[in-house]
């Protein structure tokens, strides 16, 4: 859920409090885990996560590897952004490729052609293969009703499963990262940030984003109330008309199931105004995969999804 009144700006003090809370979490993990990794998709939340991690350890570098689970359906602008950041900051990036799993038969393409749900197994294999024990995710509690239930430190069993009915108590800021061999902990440093906070912060810190987050011209067609780009992974069906519109992406995921929104916002400040006035949540506006059922996200998360 996002805040809805444009006249309730996030003040500097609130953003500073959120920033300090996130930095605290990064430092706890660096001190208590052997092999942490940041899930980095090149989306705005993971970009803000990386920015906060850099702040937490400055002037030293980020002591974590990055991991991208690549569906093979990425926006080229996002991949280019990812690679440039890794290069510029001298980071290590691991990529788990859904495409390889499909090619050798370990995963099968879904009938609807979307691949978000296919990311779980490559993700869990990468965590096991690299023996990552803490996995930072950019999930926010305001995004979705199953995510609203997450702890900041969230234990996963040796199958990568989340048991939402039996979560560890989490008191004050005393995060408990204890886990047994084979288990790992998902860590969500942005738990208490809202979509609006993220954009206020991007504006304040002048954090560069992939260009598709801002208004641009694109050939799109409408399906289920979403604007889908015409591209290799999504083609209009009979009766769906293509038009060039001015759009931006509110979330960035698998191209086959991420929709754009009509927008003229070309700067973070303009996006802030737009998000504050929005009457639909970011996932409601842009994610076909969450519409599958009442508990689509919970089911995916139980299996080990982000």
């Amino acid at each position: 859920m996002t805040t809805t009144t444009a006249s309730s700006p996030t003040t500097v003090t609130e953003l500073d409090a959120l920033e300090s809370e996130s930095i605290f979490v990064f430092r706890e993990v660096a001190a208590e885990f052997e092999r942490p990794v940041i899930l980095f998709s090149g989306g705005k939340d993971s970009i803000v996560m990386l920015h906060l991690a850099r702040k937490a350890f400055s002037p030293a570098g980020v002591p974590f590897t990055l991991l991208h689970v690549d569906t093979g359906h990425n926006f080229p602008e996002v991949l280019a952004y990812r690679d440039a950041v890794v290069e510029q900051l001298g980071l290590r990036l691991e990529v788990a490729r859904v495409e390889e799993y499909i090619a050798d038969g370990r995963l099968r393409e879904r009938t609807d052609g979307t691949r978000n749900q296919l990311q779980t197994i490559p993700l869990l294999d990468a965590i096991n293969g690299h023996r990552f024990d803490a996995v930072f995710g950019g999930g926010r509690r305001d995004e979705e009703r199953a995510r609203a239930k997450e702890r900041i430190f969230s234990l996963r069993d040796e199958f990568g499963q989340w048991d939402p009915r039996n979560q560890r108590p989490e008191l004050w800021s005393l995060y408990n990262g204890k886990h047994r061999p084979g288990e790992h902990v998902r860590v969500f440093p942005l738990s208490n940030w809202t979509e609006l906070d993220i954009w206020h912060y991007i504006e304040r810190e002048q954090i560069p984003l992939p260009s598709i987050y801002y208004a641009h011209e694109r050939d799109v067609f409408e399906r289920d109330g979403m604007l889908l780009a015409v591209g290799p992974y999504s083609q209009p069906r009979a009766g769906e008309t293509v038009a060039e519109r001015t759009v931006r992406y509110r979330t960035v995921g698998d191209m086959s199931c991420t929709g754009a929104v009509a927008s003229n916002a070309t700067t973070a400040a303009e996006v802030v105004v737009e998000v504050a006035a929005s009457e639909i949540t970011e996932r409601g506006a842009t994610r076909a995969d969450d519409r599958a059922s009442e508990a689509a996200m919970e089911d995916r998360k139980r299996e080990g999804y982000f």
Binding site: F24, R54, S173, E279
Partner: protein
């Protein structure tokens, strides 16, 4: 200036917590169109009216059973301030999740059904709020419409709760007659309760003072992680101690003591990060206050590591290896004397032995009774012997250096939330 307020709800099963939260969010216009459409569809599919509880009960099992199992966090704002709301479960079985939600709250809203009055679970939640020293408690007397907006009934419940609150040392409590279902006194003042001249729930929340200000307490700075870039540039010899200021203010030039070693030194610098797309650097600042995540440099080259606590030289808490504390027991396995556990206190984790169970809180009398073990949801008093010296304060003076977790060394489960007692004696 707008400030953030963290609130948590608590109450017994079917008191209507999730409905109240849904109503609050809805009447604050914090529910967006697609969420409303979703609740409408699901409510209709079940053949009922618009079910506000569906806005927060996010898990499949919660929706099926119509109960709340674990905390759901919601975010909303009015023109006056922003809120983080922890909607907590009511079932006794899930009290540990309510403790989780309440531990970070500035305000706890405790619901009571106007038809039933104070129940054991109400007393338990009041005890938890008192124990955690949540700054404000709201007693929402819900379903007031179902008792014909009866003033006498409301007054009686408010009086009962005030007595319990007094015994538990809860200073600030506000009773409000509400109907979550109809919306009386949640956001808008009800015409049906002309006899009530207090604030509506939202008015109260918008005006409540937030977090206890820790900046006036003596300095406590638990070290989280040591930064040594060892790069070939200007930061070659940099050695900084990262952490979040737990209380007080730290300023360049301050005389400090590093615990547990007890060495005296002074603050050489305080750094905050500045990162751009291509550069990572720090800027110096003169001081930092409670709540800020910074990096501190010291004048002398001492042995300082994670677990060290930098404290004001003139107000050092010293260290101790034995603690008397009040614990909220959160595990299905009971605590017995002699148990070996891990204690996590600020940035130190050490082995500990429970040497004594000195009593347990009796929810009926609110007195401490003798106990030989503590079971799930019990609140008890214990003594601990710890394998490492801790720089600890009483919880009443510092919620960060006064709190700890007990952890099962084998499976890592969080067994208890602990609050260190005042030196002179009882917290309860």
């Amino acid at each position: 200036m707008s400030t953030l307020l963290r609130l948590a709800t608590a109450g017994s099963v079917d008191d209507g917590k999730s409905t109240l939260v849904g109503r609050l969010l809805h009447d604050c216009k914090a529910i967006l169109a697609d969420q409303i459409a979703h609740v409408k569809t699901v409510s209709e599919a079940r053949g009922g009216d618009f079910d506000f509880a569906l806005l927060t009960d996010g898990l499949r099992a919660e929706r099926e059973q119509g109960i709340t199992i674990d905390v759901a966090y919601r975010y909303f704002a009015t023109d006056k301030r922003s809120f983080i709301l922890a909607d907590c479960p009511g079932h006794v079985q899930y009290t540990r999740n309510t403790v989780t939600g309440a531990s970070t709250a500035d305000v706890v809203i405790i619901l009571v059904d106007a038809r039933h009055g104070v129940l054991e679970q109400t007393r338990r939640h009041l005890a938890v709020a008192g124990l955690l020293r949540v700054p404000h408690v709201v007693l929402a007397v819900n379903k007031i419409d179902l008792v014909g907006y009866d003033e006498a009934g409301f007054t009686k419940i408010a009086k009962d709760v005030n007595e319990v609150a007094d015994q538990l040392g809860i200073a600030d409590i506000q009773a409000i007659p509400v109907s979550a279902l109809v919306g009386d006194n949640v956001v808008d003042k009800s015409a049906e309760t002309a006899w009530y001249d207090g604030p509506t729930l939202l008015e109260y929340l918008e005006n409540a003072t937030g977090r206890i200000d820790n900046s006036q307490q003596p300095l406590r700075f638990p070290v989280q992680y040591v930064i040594r870039p060892q790069t070939d540039d200007q930061y070659r010899d940099y050695r900084g101690y990262t952490g979040t200021v737990a209380s007080g203010t730290v300023s360049v030039g301050d005389q400090v003591i590093v615990l547990p070693a007890g060495r005296r030194t002074s603050v050489a610098g305080i750094d905050r990060a500045v990162v751009t797309a291509t550069s990572t650097a720090v800027v110096e600042r003169p001081s930092a206050v409670a709540g800020e995540a910074v990096t501190v440099r010291l004048t002398d080259d001492l042995d300082v590591a994670r677990g060290s606590v930098i404290v004001a030289a003139e107000a050092s808490p010293g260290t101790r290896r034995e603690l008397a504390a009040t614990v909220s027991w959160l595990s299905d396995r009971p605590l017995t004397v002699g148990a070996r556990v891990l204690i996590k206190h600020t940035t130190t984790t050490a082995q500990a032995i429970v040497t004594k169970i000195t009593g347990a809180l009796d929810l009926d009398t609110l007195g401490v009774i003798d106990a030989t073990e503590l079971a799930l949801n019990d609140i008890g008093k214990v003594q601990l012997k710890i394998a490492a010296p801790l720089a600890a304060d009483p919880y009443s003076s510092n919620t960060i250096t006064g709190s700890f977790l007990l952890i099962d060394a084998h499976d890592g489960w969080t067994l208890a939330a602990g609050m260190i007692d005042d030196e002179e004696g009882e917290l309860l």
